[in-house]
Symmetry: C2
Subunit: 495 residues, 2 copies
């Protein structure tokens, strides 16, 4: 028996258990560092990974738990707990089967995701599952099974029979913050849009990162309901609502892998739309030589996947493919993107035209999909909502309802990167310009990133300024600029 | 700048960095939990994964390092260090290339393993590399490249031009402790055998675990040299000698995956033979329906892999395929296997015959391979060495030279599992009987495991005792017996 201790260590959800090495040795407990152990007190238990410590950290009769493990166990400090070795959950055998190419059924996916959500999987086992889904082709039934399992292992919001609208972009295009324009347009026309977005996974900013420059985004379920009841829409971070907690955990290993698989993406996106209560969702697939999706054929294949899975979970979707020859808007990074969004909603004369037009187009398609306007009437309705200021007013109400925040000041360290070629800018490499912004510190440093001074279609001469890098300190600024300067092909000239 | 603090936390080699959450927030450092950070002091640095803490763990002006990170940084407590975000090592891009199916060359494998050895890879990235090698077929050049990289990233022992003998079994057969019999036979005949073995990866005991019941095995390089100079042979744990440190680190993720891939296995085995100074190695491939290798065709394919790679690194090998219809010997688990080995070396009348005969056969093949005896004379020479007591005397000298240890007492909790069928035992399931032993606590609990009361070839009636389970406490005993009883097919009847 041990006394329970909270360790004041935040491990981002991973359960870590601290035990004194002398206790292990003298008690002949047979534990090794990194073993999986079960901590039990009364009828409560958690599984965690073991770290060995000495006196400074825990006493010989104590078991220490990291913050999340302590919270999930739900007992007070000082109560008596037991520790025992815990074998790998049985569902890991299913992951191994999948790695060997076997089909998994709905119940097997559920078994895996239940253990994932209960934090019984180690980092290594999570990686196995993600790579198994990435490398071994899932057939259509399996994709549906994975999606249903993601829905079943989380909670679900209900805003009634609808139509309840949602939108999603599969990503890969920096600065593409259409959500923050589309949602207020739709809401100003009476459409209910309980929008939850993710933080950046491998990009310099996710919609939740950018929205967090202007309002609180970590709403819990009760707050999200209240905001939607009040304004008809929200733009919140999905992570705090735990709508598809399995997906949130899998992302913690997908992020360092920088592996995006279609299967995981479709399951992740559609499960989140469904659990957020949506009845209709618009999916934006940007296509371009440096975007996530490279060809129209690949986009069509991905769209077919979306349609199959959506059909099996009773979700109406519309899919648009959009051309991506570079970032959307001028800013890349949370603060700089937020400024673009404000400029569009406020109809500033120098607001980025591409962000404005793309948002109008997506809003129009959504309005027509849900039947809020007659076919062909979507663009006009969206344009009126934006240009009348109705969308801006709704956006400001959303900010107030979620908890208004003002954007941080500009980053203190800035430098300009110049054109190394001449001519009309035909394309800007989405992947590379995103890396420049990330090296500058985005999204962790909110004001860091890239501000495009020239965009696709502009004519430049060598030596003219192309973009500004914003960073919080000189080291990051220098590193980011050096990376950019060494890669002149980030910008391509020609038509 | 922070003051360096040692955290008294042992994470089995992983570098963990502890920082106060208020420091991150107030300093706007842009760190997130689990970020990879670089800790620098003077010209020394380490890379580690970040945990956020509060007052109880580190002060606001401190950076805490886990034991291995602190040791690898090599600075004193209290010195000033800097912390900065560290991007993923560039070689992770190569791992991603491999996951996408690209060929890697020798230098690229070296680049990956150099970063692995320097602890720059996270658990997730290590998993990616292991699974990339497991799931994407490496061609022969790549296998050689991986093996050479494992050799190049470690140190190398040199015992002269030789012949220096080594042996290895690819595993999958519980109780198969022939090494501990073969090595003293060879050494008693004047053959130099600097044997290093591994601890259990996925099995209830590795040779190093079993040998550790009778002698110290964690010899460093100087001690290993001394023992070999003194006795002509050793049976040590390879992990303390760091002969192929990349492999030791990769095993920490392979173990929980329970994925054995041929490529990783061949590279791992041959690199360790080479760096241990061997000129000749005998490879034992057990073949059976429940062994690691299931058919003679698969064994021949694996043998071809071994020959290709061995030929490219200038190592002479001989390969034997042995039949595996069940465990070798009677004990499964460190203590119980050690007793089997002692019984064979001491020529006890009830010593397990299969362990004795297999060891003699392997010793004979090795003697003939290195030319220590003329062709066909190996068995006679081995038999004389064993039956004269010469091998036993050498084994006792090895125990003394390494540091003698006496086996622990028998486990306090034992129960018998009975036959659920009648007839001659045709086979015992290697995988399942190993799982029974592991559930009983092996190898962490040294005396835990399984003792076979009946072996392949014996005739039994339903209700007769088949094997004993040994465990350190009642819970493990019950769990293990329940697992065994629920699986009557562990033992198959028939010829």
């Amino acid at each position: 028996m041990f006394r329970l201790k909270q360790m004041a260590i935040d491990t981002l959800g991973e359960h870590v258990v601290f035990i004194h090495e002398a206790t292990v040795r003298d008690g002949n407990l047979g534990f090794k560092p990194l073993d999986r152990v079960r901590i039990r007190g009364g009828d409560r238990e958690v599984i965690g990974v073991l770290n060995f410590c000495r006196d400074a950290i825990v006493a010989a009769d104590e078991i220490g738990l990291s913050d999340d493990a302590f919270r999930d166990l739900g007992l007070r400090e000082g109560v008596a707990v037991e520790a025992s070795l815990s074998p790998a959950p049985r569902s890991v055998d299913l992951v191994r089967d999948k790695l060997n190419g076997r089909r998994l059924d709905d119940e097997e996916f559920c078994a895996i995701l239940r253990d994932v959500v209960a934090r019984r999987y180690s980092k290594v086992e999570l990686s196995m599952f993600v790579l198994a889904c990435a490398l071994k082709t899932l057939d259509r039934d399996e994709m549906v099974g994975l999606t249903k399992a993601m829905i079943a292992t989380g909670q679900r919001l209900d805003f009634g029979a609808g139509p309840i609208a949602d939108k999603h972009c599969v990503g890969g295009v920096p600065g593409n913050r259409t959500t923050m324009v589309v949602v207020p347009i739709l809401a100003s026309l009476g459409v209910v849009v309980p929008k939850t977005s993710s933080r950046a996974i491998t990009s310099p900013a996710g919609t939740a990162d950018t929205m967090s420059m202007l309002a609180r985004v970590d709403l819990d379920v009760a707050e999200l309901r209240r905001v939607v009841a009040d304004v008809g829409a929200c733009i919140a971070w999905g992570g705090a609502v735990h709508l598809a907690p399995a997906d949130d955990i899998l992302i913690t290993v997908e992020r360092p892998m920088e592996i995006d698989t279609e299967v995981q993406m479709v399951a992740s996106i559609l499960s989140k739309k469904k659990t957020a209560g949506a009845t209709h969702a618009l999916i934006d697939i940007p296509v371009g030589p440096t975007a996530k999706v490279r060809s129209l054929a690949a986009a069509e294949q991905l769209a077919a996947l979306f349609r199959t899975v959506a059909g099996s979970i009773d979700l109406s979707i519309d899919i648009v493919t959009t051309e991506a020859r570079g970032p959307v808007g001028r800013g890349i990074g949370p603060r700089l993107e937020a400024l673009d969004v404000l400029a569009v909603l406020r109809r500033d004369p120098d607001a980025p035209l591409d962000l404005r037009e793309k948002s109008l187009y997506l809003a129009a398609r959504t309005l027509e999909m849900i039947g809020a306007v007659s076919a062909g009437g979507g663009y006009r309705a969206a344009l009126d909502a934006l240009d009348s200021g109705a969308a801006e007013r709704v956006f400001e109400r959303i900010r107030d309802a979620q908890g208004r925040r003002e954007p941080p000041p500009a980053a203190a360290h800035r430098a300009t990167v110049e054109a190394q070629g001449d001519g009309r800018i035909g394309a800007i490499d989405c992947l590379e310009i995103a890396r420049v912004a990330k090296r500058a510190g985005a999204p962790a440093h909110e004001a860091a990133g890239v501000r495009l001074l020239r965009v696709v279609g502009d004519v430049v001469a060598a030596g003219e300024p192309l973009f500004e890098v914003h960073a919080q300190n000189e080291t990051l600024l220098r590193d980011s600029c050096a990376y950019a300067t060494a890669r002149p092909a980030i910008v391509q000239y020609g038509f």
